[in-house]
């Protein structure tokens, strides 16, 4: 079933001024329930504008946004309900923390939903656990935490609302490699456990290949392609052409192929490369 459906979505900024620009240009898109979709694209390719349409923060200039088959700008729909259904975590989300304690901050979203008492407590503790925040952190001030911890508190704040669709804008930006891994693998685990539909915006091909099942490539406000990860990266040349990178390991394999060592064109992760190299080494005697 399609949880998200975009029909001819167009968004223009600064209409009627000399600065008018089209950020999203006639986009048709469907996202299936339970899909883990990575979104990549250049700065200014319309990714951020696109995702802000999905929970009604921005109203489309033209076109429709359908969540669970219903137009979110229909009069019968309360936009706040949509925001609880579609959780959105912004880039550098640690800037949204404001409460005295981590616990209160995580509770802010669910409280807005009307959650109270035991249910609220349960949600907060669950979300904190899911994001790997220790019990003792809950009573600390969010401003005393490290960057990675703050980020996970912000994520927990949205997860505690138990959204059916979770959209993350660069959740790992600006973190060190351990912090990145920590945040992304927790999101991946959360996806496996709850079957939530996840859209992950990222600049890092490595991250997308590692965690996402499908990839949406945006270019100049349009959808360049939306397909299974394997199939998207098989179009390596086209992707490089629009100025995006392919994973580093894929590049290395491409260079090796030019040197006469062909290990196959479908290598996007280090694991698979390792496997192929080992096989190649074993066979080397017989092949050459």
């Amino acid at each position: 079933m399609n949880v998200i459906e975009l029909k001819g979505l167009t968004h223009k900024y600064s209409i009627g001024t000399p600065f008018e620009s089209v950020a999203v240009d006639n986009v048709d898109l469907t996202i299936e329930k339970g899909e883990f979709c990575g979104i990549i694209g250049h700065t200014g390719s319309g990714k951020s504008t696109l995702i802000q349409h999905l929970n009604g923060l921005i109203k489309p200039t033209q076109g429709q946004v359908l969540i669970d088959g219903k137009d979110i700008w229909d009069k019968s729909v309360n936009i706040r309900d949509i925001r609880f259904k579609v959780g959105l975590v912004f880039q550098y989300s640690e800037y949204q923390l404001f409460e005295e304690t981590v616990y209160k901050d995580i509770a802010y979203g669910p409280k807005n939903m009307g959650c109270e008492g035991e249910e609220l407590d349960k949600r907060v503790r669950e979300a904190a656990e899911e994001m790997g925040l220790d019990e003792e952190l809950l009573e600390r001030s969010p401003f005393d935490l490290s960057g990675g911890q703050k980020r996970r508190v912000a994520l927990a704040g949205v997860i505690a609302m138990k959204p059916e669709i979770l959209i993350l804008d660069e959740p790992a930006a600006g973190l060190d490699p351990i912090g990145r891994e920590n945040v992304l693998s927790r999101i991946s685990e959360y996806h496996k456990k709850h079957g939530t539909t996840i859209l992950l915006v990222s600049h890092s091909m490595e991250d997308i290949v590692k965690y996402a099942q499908k990839v949406l490539v945006m270019n100049k406000g349009k959808v360049f392609c939306h397909d299974e990860t394997d199939r998207v990266f098989a179009r390596q040349d086209e992707i490089t052409e629009i100025g995006l990178d392919v994973p580093q390991i894929t590049k290395i394999m491409m260079l090796l192929r030019q040197k006469g060592v062909d290990l196959g064109q479908d290598i996007y992760t280090v694991e698979r490369a390792k496997e192929r190299i080992l096989r190649y080494m074993d066979n080397k005697g017989t092949v050459c």
Partner: protein, 273 residues
């Protein structure tokens, strides 16, 4: 919504008004204000208005901006108008009598006169900010105030503070927008409810904004210190302010205008108009 704020907005250009020395522009603007207050009747005021429109045309700024700069000040204008209308008493018969309120001819004239004067004032001042970049403006203020250094007045520090403040207005607006979106995504209700409820709903926006503003301030201070900034003493400028022929001409034109206004003030009553 926050992007509509135009206070002190600068529109780059190459017109003669843009190229005037910013120090002269500030002084001439003050002279213009003085001139407006010297204008004692509708004729001299109209003359000042024509002069201002010519300046506006010379600066090649879109006329739509006139209305944009007036919009925020509208309540003040209406308020002044009403005050003058109701509280000025004339000698002739009142035009309207409503209970204890009576409106006289004199009150009506004065209120229109005041409104027009305030409008001309705002438009004239906005020409300055529309055509002068904030950097030039603070530079000019620093230079104009520099005699006060003798009195140990921290002129350079004041100018630096103004520069920094102006520089960070757009940044903070952008940041506010972002934080508001983030809290809305968490179900914050920023637009509805009574005054108390609205104020309370702003806490999740204001606290992160203050936190990041303080963080930015300390980072900026550190960056300035790293580049050995230690106040204005012995500091030289990359861009020197230079004045030339066109500035002298501008001062001359302004002088003539003031003379015309004064003449109009004196002569009109004599002709009995």
């Amino acid at each position: 919504m926050l992007k509509d704020i135009t206070i002190g907005q600068y529109f780059p250009g190459e017109s003669i008004i843009h190229r005037l020395d910013s120090r002269f522009k500030i002084i001439l603007d003050i002279a213009y204000v003085v001139m407006l207050f010297m204008a004692g009747n509708f004729y001299s005021l109209a003359m000042a208005g024509v002069f201002m429109l010519i300046i506006y045309m010379l600066s090649r700024i879109s006329f739509r901006l006139i209305f944009k700069s007036l919009r925020p000040i509208m309540p003040v204008i209406v308020f002044t108008c009403l005050l003058n209308l109701f509280f000025i008493q004339g000698e002739s018969e009142p035009l309207v009598r409503l209970g204890f309120i009576s409106i006289y001819m004199e009150g009506a004239t004065t209120s229109v006169f005041m409104a027009v004067r305030i409008i001309f004032l705002i438009i004239g001042m906005s020409v300055l900010t529309y055509t002068t970049s904030p950097i030039e403006l603070t530079d000019a203020i620093e230079r104009l105030l520099s005699p006060l250094k003798v009195l140990r007045f921290p002129v350079h520090e004041l100018a630096m503070m103004m520069t920094i403040a102006l520089r960070f207005i757009p940044t903070l607006i952008e940041e506010t927008d972002k934080i508001m979106s983030a809290q809305k995504a968490r179900g914050a209700n920023l637009d509805t409810g009574g005054l108390v409820k609205k104020a309370k709903a702003l806490i999740p926006v204001l606290i992160p904004l203050f936190v990041s503003a303080f963080k930015r301030a300390s980072e900026l201070a550190l960056a300035m210190e790293c580049r050995c900034y230690k106040g204005g003493d012995g500091r030289t400028r990359m861009k020197q302010l230079k004045w030339g022929m066109r500035d002298i001409v501008a001062v001359f034109v302004m002088g003539v205008m003031i003379a015309v206004i004064v003449l109009l003030n004196i002569s009109i009553p004599i002709f009995g108009l």
